[in-house]
Amino acid sequence: MSFLPGFGRRQPSSAEKIANAEAEMDMIGEMMARLNQSCLKKCIQPDYHEGDLTKGESVCLDRCVGKFFEVQMKISEKMQGDAAMKQGM
């Protein structure tokens, strides 16, 4: 991600490169955790009649992940567009 500290101005130091890799890993991990939370909430009924996923739950989870990514992409595009407008580019 091009706005990480150190990037593009000079050679980032070892500590910076590792901190940037950490920050990127944290971001992916956080998104994964929220995706998991949201899709379990949307697709799994909390009665737990059985331990296996039903066909309906499986399909729902698949589509939920796809739609979550779509939402993430649309929001990312929007925010980049807003930032570009603010800079008058």
Partner: protein, 90 residues
């Protein structure tokens, strides 16, 4: 806050920038989660319906404008507290 000398300020500035970045990541991913949960409810389809997409865009706008306003009022309150000599927790 205790006074920091120049070296300490530089180190704190680094820590502060890292935290700002981490906080922005958290706000960003929480925004995606909130607007997804509020707006997307139809899983009979694989892709976003246009009403879901419109809802998400308006949700993002609304959240950002509300957060700006809250930030403004929060700063005003903090300034007022410091002037009256009463900092919560100190």
């Amino acid at each position: 806050m205790e006074a920091l000398n120049a070296n300490e300020q530089r180190e704190f500035q680094n820590i502060y920038e890292r935290k700002q970045l981490k906080d922005f990541m958290t706000v960003y991913s929480r925004l995606i989660q909130n607007c997804f949960e509020s707006c997307v409810n139809d899983f009979t389809s694989k892709t976003l319906a246009s009403r879901e997409q419109g809802c998400v865009m308006r949700c993002v706008d609304k959240h950002q404008k509300a957060a700006e306003r809250v930030q403004l009022r929060f700063t005003e309150q903090n300034v007022a507290l410091m002037q009256s000599g009463q900092i919560p927790g100190q």
